[in-house]
Protein backbone atom coordinates (compact mmCIF):
# COMPACT_ATOMS: atom_id res chain seq x y z
CA UNK A 1 0.00 0.00 0.00
CA UNK A 2 1.27 3.46 -0.90
CA UNK A 3 0.50 6.47 1.30
CA UNK A 4 0.62 10.06 0.15
CA UNK A 5 3.15 11.80 2.36
CA UNK A 6 0.70 14.46 3.55
CA UNK A 7 -0.94 11.64 5.51
CA UNK A 8 2.40 10.41 6.83
CA UNK A 9 3.33 13.99 7.79
CA UNK A 10 0.06 14.44 9.69
CA UNK A 11 0.66 11.11 11.41
CA UNK A 12 4.18 12.15 12.40
CA UNK A 13 2.87 15.45 13.81
CA UNK A 14 0.58 13.46 16.08
CA UNK A 15 3.33 11.04 17.01
CA UNK A 16 6.35 13.32 17.39
CA UNK A 17 5.23 16.49 19.15
CA UNK A 18 8.12 18.97 19.55
CA UNK A 19 10.53 16.65 17.73
CA UNK A 20 12.37 17.66 14.55
CA UNK A 21 12.55 15.47 11.44
CA UNK A 22 12.46 15.31 7.64
CA UNK A 23 10.32 13.26 5.31
CA UNK A 24 11.55 13.00 1.74
CA UNK A 25 9.49 12.67 -1.47
CA UNK A 26 5.73 12.62 -1.94
CA UNK A 27 4.84 8.99 -1.17
CA UNK A 28 5.74 6.23 1.26
CA UNK A 29 5.23 2.62 0.21
CA UNK A 30 6.13 0.47 3.18
CA UNK A 31 8.33 0.09 6.24
CA UNK A 32 11.62 -0.08 4.32
CA UNK A 33 10.62 2.90 2.20
CA UNK A 34 9.70 4.89 5.32
CA UNK A 35 13.06 4.21 6.94
CA UNK A 36 14.83 5.43 3.81
CA UNK A 37 12.84 8.69 3.70
CA UNK A 38 12.41 9.56 7.38
CA UNK A 39 15.35 11.39 8.99
CA UNK A 40 15.32 12.21 12.69
CA UNK A 41 17.35 15.19 13.93
CA UNK A 42 19.97 14.25 16.51
CA UNK A 43 21.91 17.52 16.69
CA UNK A 44 23.62 20.39 14.88
CA UNK A 45 27.23 20.47 13.69
CA UNK A 46 29.72 23.36 14.01
CA UNK A 47 28.53 25.03 10.79
CA UNK A 48 24.91 25.06 11.93
CA UNK A 49 23.91 22.12 9.75
CA UNK A 50 21.36 19.57 10.94
CA UNK A 51 22.76 16.18 11.92
CA UNK A 52 20.18 13.41 11.58
CA UNK A 53 19.77 9.66 11.28
CA UNK A 54 17.42 7.30 9.47
CA UNK A 55 18.45 4.33 11.60
CA UNK A 56 15.34 3.05 13.45
CA UNK A 57 17.55 1.54 16.12
CA UNK A 58 18.62 5.08 16.98
CA UNK A 59 15.50 7.20 16.48
CA UNK A 60 13.07 4.51 17.74
CA UNK A 61 10.23 5.72 15.50
CA UNK A 62 8.36 2.58 14.47
CA UNK A 63 6.48 2.29 11.17
CA UNK A 64 3.79 0.32 13.01
CA UNK A 65 3.15 3.35 15.28
CA UNK A 66 3.04 5.65 12.25
CA UNK A 67 0.45 3.35 10.63
CA UNK A 68 -1.78 3.64 13.72
CA UNK A 69 -1.65 7.43 13.45
CA UNK A 70 -2.30 7.30 9.69
CA UNK A 71 -5.55 5.47 10.46
CA UNK A 72 -6.48 8.33 12.82
CA UNK A 73 -5.68 10.85 10.08
CA UNK A 74 -7.75 8.93 7.54
CA UNK A 75 -10.68 8.82 9.96
CA UNK A 76 -10.73 12.65 9.84
CA UNK A 77 -10.17 12.94 6.12
CA UNK A 78 -13.83 13.93 5.64
CA UNK A 79 -13.04 17.21 7.45
CA UNK A 80 -10.60 18.22 4.73
CA UNK A 81 -13.05 17.23 1.99
CA UNK A 82 -15.83 19.27 3.57
CA UNK A 83 -13.60 22.28 4.20
CA UNK A 84 -12.51 22.34 0.56
CA UNK A 85 -16.13 22.06 -0.64
CA UNK A 86 -17.84 24.81 1.35
CA UNK A 87 -18.30 28.10 -0.54
CA UNK A 88 -16.53 31.27 0.50
CA UNK A 89 -17.73 32.64 3.86
CA UNK A 90 -19.04 35.81 2.21
CA UNK A 91 -21.14 33.79 -0.21
CA UNK A 92 -22.61 31.80 2.66
CA UNK A 93 -23.44 34.93 4.69
CA UNK A 94 -25.13 36.44 1.65
CA UNK A 95 -27.14 33.23 1.19
CA UNK A 96 -28.23 33.36 4.83
CA UNK A 97 -29.23 37.03 4.49
CA UNK A 98 -31.43 36.36 1.48
CA UNK A 99 -32.73 32.87 2.33
CA UNK A 100 -32.42 32.32 6.05
CA UNK A 101 -30.54 29.84 8.24
CA UNK A 102 -32.70 26.82 7.45
CA UNK A 103 -32.32 27.18 3.67
CA UNK A 104 -28.56 27.65 4.19
CA UNK A 105 -28.44 24.37 6.10
CA UNK A 106 -30.46 22.39 3.58
CA UNK A 107 -29.04 23.94 0.40
CA UNK A 108 -25.37 24.44 1.27
CA UNK A 109 -24.31 22.53 4.38
CA UNK A 110 -26.29 19.31 4.25
CA UNK A 111 -25.35 18.27 0.68
CA UNK A 112 -21.66 18.56 1.52
CA UNK A 113 -22.06 16.66 4.77
CA UNK A 114 -23.91 13.95 2.89
CA UNK A 115 -21.27 13.82 0.16
CA UNK A 116 -18.46 13.47 2.72
CA UNK A 117 -19.88 11.57 5.73
CA UNK A 118 -17.96 10.95 8.93
CA UNK A 119 -16.02 7.75 8.51
Amino acid sequence: MTYRNWKVRDALELLLVDKEYSLRDSETKDEADFYSKFWYKTGVNESGETVSTNDPNVHKVLWSDVLVKIKEVEAKEYQHDRKRSYPDMGVQLDYIYHNGIEKWKTDIVDPIKAKYPKS
Binding site: K19, G48, T50, K83
Partner: protein, 199 residues
Protein backbone atom coordinates in the same frame (compact mmCIF):
# COMPACT_ATOMS: atom_id res chain seq x y z
CA UNK B 1 59.40 48.76 -32.23
CA UNK B 2 59.90 48.61 -35.95
CA UNK B 3 57.47 46.69 -38.15
CA UNK B 4 59.01 43.35 -39.12
CA UNK B 5 57.85 41.02 -41.86
CA UNK B 6 59.26 37.51 -41.42
CA UNK B 7 58.89 35.49 -44.58
CA UNK B 8 60.30 32.29 -43.10
CA UNK B 9 57.50 31.79 -40.59
CA UNK B 10 54.86 34.05 -42.17
CA UNK B 11 54.57 36.46 -39.20
CA UNK B 12 54.30 40.20 -38.78
CA UNK B 13 55.68 41.78 -35.62
CA UNK B 14 55.53 45.30 -34.26
CA UNK B 15 51.97 46.24 -35.23
CA UNK B 16 50.82 48.94 -32.75
CA UNK B 17 47.48 48.89 -30.93
CA UNK B 18 45.05 50.42 -33.39
CA UNK B 19 47.54 49.86 -36.15
CA UNK B 20 45.08 47.89 -38.24
CA UNK B 21 42.21 49.66 -40.00
CA UNK B 22 38.69 49.35 -38.57
CA UNK B 23 36.87 46.25 -39.75
CA UNK B 24 39.98 44.46 -40.95
CA UNK B 25 39.58 41.72 -38.30
CA UNK B 26 36.08 40.27 -38.47
CA UNK B 27 34.49 37.32 -36.69
CA UNK B 28 35.41 34.87 -39.43
CA UNK B 29 39.10 35.66 -38.96
CA UNK B 30 39.06 34.51 -35.33
CA UNK B 31 39.72 30.86 -34.64
CA UNK B 32 36.82 28.92 -33.13
CA UNK B 33 36.63 29.49 -29.32
CA UNK B 34 39.59 31.88 -29.59
CA UNK B 35 38.09 34.19 -26.92
CA UNK B 36 38.90 32.19 -23.80
CA UNK B 37 37.48 32.83 -20.31
CA UNK B 38 40.53 34.88 -19.32
CA UNK B 39 40.05 37.20 -22.32
CA UNK B 40 36.41 38.04 -21.59
CA UNK B 41 35.51 41.46 -20.20
CA UNK B 42 34.52 41.76 -16.49
CA UNK B 43 30.87 40.88 -16.01
CA UNK B 44 30.75 38.43 -18.91
CA UNK B 45 28.92 35.14 -18.44
CA UNK B 46 31.38 32.30 -18.87
CA UNK B 47 29.10 29.31 -18.27
CA UNK B 48 25.62 28.52 -16.98
CA UNK B 49 24.30 25.50 -15.10
CA UNK B 50 20.72 24.75 -14.09
CA UNK B 51 18.96 22.04 -12.08
CA UNK B 52 15.18 21.72 -11.94
CA UNK B 53 13.62 19.20 -9.58
CA UNK B 54 9.97 18.11 -9.43
CA UNK B 55 10.23 16.14 -6.20
CA UNK B 56 9.09 16.93 -2.70
CA UNK B 57 10.75 17.32 0.69
CA UNK B 58 9.38 18.22 4.09
CA UNK B 59 10.56 18.75 7.64
CA UNK B 60 10.44 20.98 10.69
CA UNK B 61 14.11 21.30 11.66
CA UNK B 62 15.08 24.71 13.06
CA UNK B 63 18.65 24.33 11.78
CA UNK B 64 19.84 24.26 8.16
CA UNK B 65 18.80 20.90 6.71
CA UNK B 66 19.65 19.25 3.39
CA UNK B 67 16.51 18.91 1.25
CA UNK B 68 17.98 16.40 -1.19
CA UNK B 69 16.22 18.25 -4.02
CA UNK B 70 19.08 20.13 -5.69
CA UNK B 71 22.55 18.90 -6.69
CA UNK B 72 24.18 21.28 -9.17
CA UNK B 73 27.72 21.61 -10.55
CA UNK B 74 29.27 23.42 -13.52
CA UNK B 75 30.32 21.42 -16.57
CA UNK B 76 33.76 23.07 -16.50
CA UNK B 77 35.94 24.29 -13.66
CA UNK B 78 35.39 27.85 -12.48
CA UNK B 79 38.33 30.18 -13.10
CA UNK B 80 39.91 31.27 -9.83
CA UNK B 81 38.77 34.78 -8.88
CA UNK B 82 35.62 34.71 -11.00
CA UNK B 83 32.23 35.21 -9.34
CA UNK B 84 29.18 32.96 -9.35
CA UNK B 85 25.60 34.24 -9.51
CA UNK B 86 23.11 31.84 -7.92
CA UNK B 87 19.35 32.26 -8.46
CA UNK B 88 16.89 30.04 -6.62
CA UNK B 89 13.22 29.56 -7.50
CA UNK B 90 11.24 27.42 -5.09
CA UNK B 91 7.70 26.83 -3.86
CA UNK B 92 6.87 25.97 -0.27
CA UNK B 93 3.86 24.66 1.60
CA UNK B 94 2.99 25.10 5.27
CA UNK B 95 1.60 22.86 7.98
CA UNK B 96 -0.21 25.46 10.05
CA UNK B 97 -3.58 24.28 11.16
CA UNK B 98 -5.36 26.96 13.18
CA UNK B 99 -2.04 28.13 14.56
CA UNK B 100 0.13 31.23 14.37
CA UNK B 101 2.22 31.76 11.28
CA UNK B 102 5.75 30.39 11.14
CA UNK B 103 8.59 31.35 8.84
CA UNK B 104 10.53 29.11 6.46
CA UNK B 105 13.99 29.93 5.12
CA UNK B 106 16.03 28.55 2.22
CA UNK B 107 19.70 28.72 1.40
CA UNK B 108 22.33 27.17 -0.84
CA UNK B 109 25.16 25.10 0.59
CA UNK B 110 28.40 24.51 -1.28
CA UNK B 111 29.92 21.10 -0.61
CA UNK B 112 33.27 22.64 0.32
CA UNK B 113 32.30 26.13 1.50
CA UNK B 114 29.14 25.49 3.53
CA UNK B 115 26.29 27.98 3.64
CA UNK B 116 26.65 30.51 0.80
CA UNK B 117 23.73 32.65 1.99
CA UNK B 118 23.29 34.61 5.18
CA UNK B 119 23.94 32.39 8.19
CA UNK B 120 20.56 33.28 9.70
CA UNK B 121 18.35 34.26 6.76
CA UNK B 122 19.74 32.21 3.86
CA UNK B 123 18.93 33.65 0.43
CA UNK B 124 15.13 33.77 0.65
CA UNK B 125 12.29 32.98 2.98
CA UNK B 126 8.69 33.56 3.86
CA UNK B 127 5.49 31.75 4.57
CA UNK B 128 2.31 30.85 2.75
CA UNK B 129 -0.05 33.81 2.75
CA UNK B 130 -3.76 33.51 2.20
CA UNK B 131 -7.05 35.29 2.65
CA UNK B 132 -7.65 33.74 6.04
CA UNK B 133 -4.35 34.87 7.66
CA UNK B 134 -2.80 32.10 9.74
CA UNK B 135 -5.85 29.89 9.73
CA UNK B 136 -6.33 26.25 8.92
CA UNK B 137 -6.39 26.91 5.18
CA UNK B 138 -2.63 27.56 5.22
CA UNK B 139 -2.01 23.85 4.92
CA UNK B 140 -3.53 23.93 1.41
CA UNK B 141 -1.51 26.94 0.29
CA UNK B 142 1.60 27.10 -1.85
CA UNK B 143 3.93 30.09 -2.05
CA UNK B 144 6.46 30.66 -4.81
CA UNK B 145 9.60 32.58 -3.81
CA UNK B 146 13.05 33.35 -5.17
CA UNK B 147 16.42 34.76 -4.16
CA UNK B 148 19.78 35.56 -5.75
CA UNK B 149 23.35 35.76 -4.54
CA UNK B 150 26.66 36.85 -6.12
CA UNK B 151 29.82 35.57 -4.47
CA UNK B 152 33.38 34.44 -5.16
CA UNK B 153 33.89 30.69 -4.71
CA UNK B 154 36.92 29.40 -2.86
CA UNK B 155 36.93 26.27 -5.02
CA UNK B 156 37.08 25.85 -8.79
CA UNK B 157 34.59 22.96 -8.63
CA UNK B 158 31.65 24.16 -6.52
CA UNK B 159 28.75 21.76 -5.95
CA UNK B 160 25.48 23.23 -4.71
CA UNK B 161 22.64 21.83 -2.56
CA UNK B 162 19.35 23.30 -1.33
CA UNK B 163 18.89 23.60 2.45
CA UNK B 164 15.88 24.75 4.49
CA UNK B 165 15.03 25.57 8.08
CA UNK B 166 12.25 26.87 10.29
CA UNK B 167 13.02 30.10 12.08
CA UNK B 168 11.09 29.50 15.29
CA UNK B 169 9.05 26.57 16.45
CA UNK B 170 8.79 23.22 14.80
CA UNK B 171 6.01 23.14 12.22
CA UNK B 172 6.54 21.13 9.05
CA UNK B 173 7.30 23.05 5.87
CA UNK B 174 7.22 21.45 2.44
CA UNK B 175 9.48 22.14 -0.52
CA UNK B 176 7.98 21.53 -3.97
CA UNK B 177 4.37 21.08 -2.93
CA UNK B 178 1.55 22.31 -0.73
CA UNK B 179 1.53 20.45 2.56
CA UNK B 180 -2.00 19.12 2.26
CA UNK B 181 -2.19 18.30 -1.41
CA UNK B 182 -4.96 15.80 -0.74
CA UNK B 183 -4.35 14.57 -4.26
CA UNK B 184 -1.55 14.41 -6.79
CA UNK B 185 -0.98 18.15 -6.87
CA UNK B 186 2.78 18.16 -6.56
CA UNK B 187 3.92 21.50 -7.95
CA UNK B 188 7.64 20.77 -8.28
CA UNK B 189 9.83 23.11 -10.33
CA UNK B 190 12.40 23.75 -7.65
CA UNK B 191 15.13 25.40 -9.72
CA UNK B 192 18.67 26.62 -9.10
CA UNK B 193 20.57 28.55 -11.77
CA UNK B 194 24.32 29.12 -11.44
CA UNK B 195 26.25 31.51 -13.70
CA UNK B 196 30.01 31.98 -13.67
CA UNK B 197 30.78 35.68 -14.15
CA UNK B 198 34.20 37.08 -15.03
CA UNK B 199 35.65 39.27 -12.28
Amino acid sequence: MALTLNGSNNTIAGVAVGGLPDGIVDTDMLAAEAVTKTKQAPGSVVQVAIHTDHGEDSGNETSWTQTGRIDLSFANSVTSGNKVLLTLHVGIGEAYDSSWAQHGLLTIYCATQGNIGDSSLGICGGWVSGNTSAGSDMQYGYQRMSGSLLYTPTTTTPRYYLYRKRIDTAFVMVVGSAKHTHANYNSGNTTLVAMEITA
